[in-house]
Point group: D2
Chain length 196, copies 4
C-alpha cells in the first residue's frame, strides 16, 4: 500500500481571522461559510489516529522579508505590503483549532510552492511517502502549485477539496474540475478519512 502523508498549508490567522492582515482578501469569510477548518480538523484527527505523518506548513517571513526581496511584485509584494505572515506574530500563528501537537512536523514555507527551496521533498523521500493529502490555502495558488510539484516528483496528490478555499467560486471550481483530476485524486474530507 502506498504510504500517505497529510500536509496542511497556511491555516494561519492572517488568512483565517477577520482581524488577520490578509482579511481584505476575504478568504476567512469563504472558509467560514464552507466549514474548511472543521472539515480539516476531522481529517487531522483521523491522520493522528492512523499515525500518518502530518506536516503543518505555515508560510512565514523574517524581519524585512528577505526571503522575497527579489520578488517585489505579485502575491509576495501583497503580503509584504500588508505586513502579513511575519514570523513570530499572532497573524503568522496557526489557528487554535489546528495547532500542531508535539511530534508533528512544522515546515516553514517561504514560497508559493511548499517544495520550493524547502526540506519537503527530502522529508517525504525519507518517509517513503507516495501519496500526499493536500489541504489549505489558497486552492488555486499555494495548494495547487504544491500539488503540481508533488506530481512532478512522483508523489500522487490527494486533494481534499472541502478543506481548502479560493478567492472566488469560479477559481475553486476550475481547480477542482480542470486541474486536480489530471494530477491525482479529488476527494471530500469524508472520502479521505474513509480511505486512510
Amino acid at each position: 500500500m502506498a504510504k500517505t502523508a497529510l500536509i496542511m498549508i497556511e491555516f494561519q490567522n492572517d488568512f483565517l481571522s477577520e482581524k488577520g492582515a490578509m482579511a481584505g482578501a476575504g478568504i476567512w469569510k469563504r472558509a467560514k461559510d464552507s466549514n474548511v477548518v472543521a472539515n480539516t480538523k476531522k481529517v487531522l484527527e483521523a491522520a493522528r489516529n492512523k499515525k500518518i505523518p502530518i506536516i503543518h506548513s505555515p508560510i512565514s517571513f523574517r524581519e524585512g522579508y528577505p526571503e522575497v526581496a527579489s520578488t517585489p511584485f505579485g502575491l509576495f509584494k501583497g503580503a509584504a505590503d500588508a505586513n502579513a505572515f511575519k514570523k513570530g506574530t499572532w497573524g503568522a500563528e496557526i489557528v487554535d483549532e489546528l495547532k500542531p501537537k508535539e511530534g508533528e512536523m512544522v515546515l516553514d514555507k517561504r514560497r508559493l510552492c511548499a517544495f520550493c527551496d524547502s526540506e519537503l521533498a527530502g522529508l517525504l523521500k525519507n518517509l517513503d511517502v507516495k501519496e500526499l493529502i493536500i489541504t489549505g490555502f489558497i486552492t488555486n495558488w499555494c495548494v495547487e502549485v504544491t500539488g503540481r510539484s508533488a506530481y512532478d516528483r512522483g508523489i500522487k496528490p490527494i486533494f481534499a477539496v472541502d478543506c481548502m478555499e479560493a478567492l472566488s467560486e469560479e477559481e475553486q471550481k476550475f481547480a477542482i474540475e480542470k486541474i486536480f483530476p489530471v494530477l491525482g485524486d479529488v476527494k471530500t474530507s469524508d472520502e479521505v478519512i474513509k480511505a486512510l
Copy 2:
C-alpha cells in the same frame, strides 16, 4: 534594466503535427488556428537580433521512460502510453520553423515544470536573468507551472499569450485572465517584441 531571457517550451512534432503521438489531444489544430508557431517565430527572431539568451526546452524521455517511472498516473502516463516525446525520435524533435541555431541553449525537460530537477535555475542565475519570456505548450500545464516556479524563484514571468495554446478556450482564457496577471506580465508577441 532587468535582464531578460526567452524560453520555448515543447514546440515539438508530437504536439504540433497532425501525425504527432499526441495529435489526439488536438493541440496541433488549436495552435494552427491561432498562429502560435508564426507568432513565436517573430519573438524568436527578435530575441536573436537583440542577443537575448534563448532556451529551447523540449520535453523528452529515455527508453523505458525511467524519468517518470514513479508517476504511473496522470499526464506522464498518457505520454508514456502514447510513446510520445521519446528522445531521438521525430516526434520529440523541435518543429522545423523553430529549430535551435548553434549556440542557443537546449535544455531537456523531464517534468511539467521546466525548473524541476533541471539546470534551469542555475543557468538563469548565472546569466543574471530577472525576467523570463515564456512561450509554448500547454498554456495551463507546463507553461503555467514554469511561470509559477519562476515567480517563486524571484524571476518575473512575461507570458507571451499568443505564443501558447491550451486544450480548450476555457482553459486558455482562465490562465490568461486569472493566473498570469498575478504572477507577472501578460503580453502579445508584438508587445513582447516592442519591449525587447
Copy 3:
C-alpha cells in the same frame, strides 16, 4: 563590489560543551585550544557593524530523527544514536557567546551541506550574495561540503580558517591546504575582518 554574507555552522552545545552529546568526538577540546569561539565572535561583531547578512545555521532533528530516516549509517546514525542536535534541547542550542540577535537569520540545517534541501540558495540569491564567509564545524565535513556547494552555485567561499576545527590536525590541515584554496579564499579571522 561583490556582496558578502556570513554563515555560522553548528556552533552548538552538543559540539562545543564538554557536556554536549558529541563531546566524545573531542571537537570542544580542539576548538577551545584554538580559540574558535572567540575568533568567530570577532568576525560576527564585525559583520554586525558592517550590516552584512548573518546566517546562523545550527543543525537539528525532530523527534524520532525523521529527517535522516533513510540514512541509517555514517555521521547521521552517529548523531541519532547519541541523541544529539535534537530540536528544542539545550544541546541543540547555539552557544551563549554566539547567540543570534533579533533580525539575524537562523536557518535550520538538516544535512551535512547547508544548501541541501534548504532555503539557503534561494535566500542568498535574493540577497544577491556573491561571497560567503564560512565558519563552524566540522572543518572537513559540514564546512567543507557547504563551501563546495557554494562554489557549484557560483558563490565564492571565503574560509575563515581559525573559526573552524576538525577531528584531527591532519584533517584540518588537509582541508586548508588542499581543498579550500581551489574553491575560494583562505583567510584568518583578522584578514576576513580587514576585508569587510
Copy 4:
C-alpha cells in the same frame, strides 16, 4: 535488498588522453598507471550483465561556458580557460572503452557535484536506488562531492576506489582513508563485482 545503480563520472578524452585539454593535470598518466579504465570496464560489464541502472555522467559546457559564468574562479575557470569539456568536441566525448550502449542513461553534468542542478536525484528516486556505486574523476573533487551529496540524500555511496584517480597519491589516499569510510562503503572493483 537495496537497489543499486552505477555512476561513471567524467571518463572523457580531455581527462584521459595525453592529447586532452586537461592533459597538463596528469590525470591521464596516473589513471593509466593504476588501470582505472580497465578496472571500470569490468565493473561496467558486470553492471550490464546484472541489468543494474547505469548512468554515464560526463561534464560538458555549452559555447561560451554560460553554465559557469558566475564562477570565474577555481576549477571551472581552469576548464574554461583550457577550452575543456566543450559539448560536441572530441575532448568532451567519453573514451572508447567505456562508451555508453543504447538504453544506458547519459546525464550531462555541469557542476562538480553530479546532483547539483541536475535530474540525478529525481532519476535515482524514480528508480528506487538506495546504493550508488561511484567511479571516475577526480577522486577528491567530483567523485567525493557526489558521494557526499548522495549521503545527504539518503543514498549510500559505494566508492570503487581502483576506478578513480586524484592529482596526487596523497589526495587519493586521504579521500579513501579519511572521507569515504564515514560516508559509505569503500571497495575494490573486484569486491564491487562480487557484491552485485
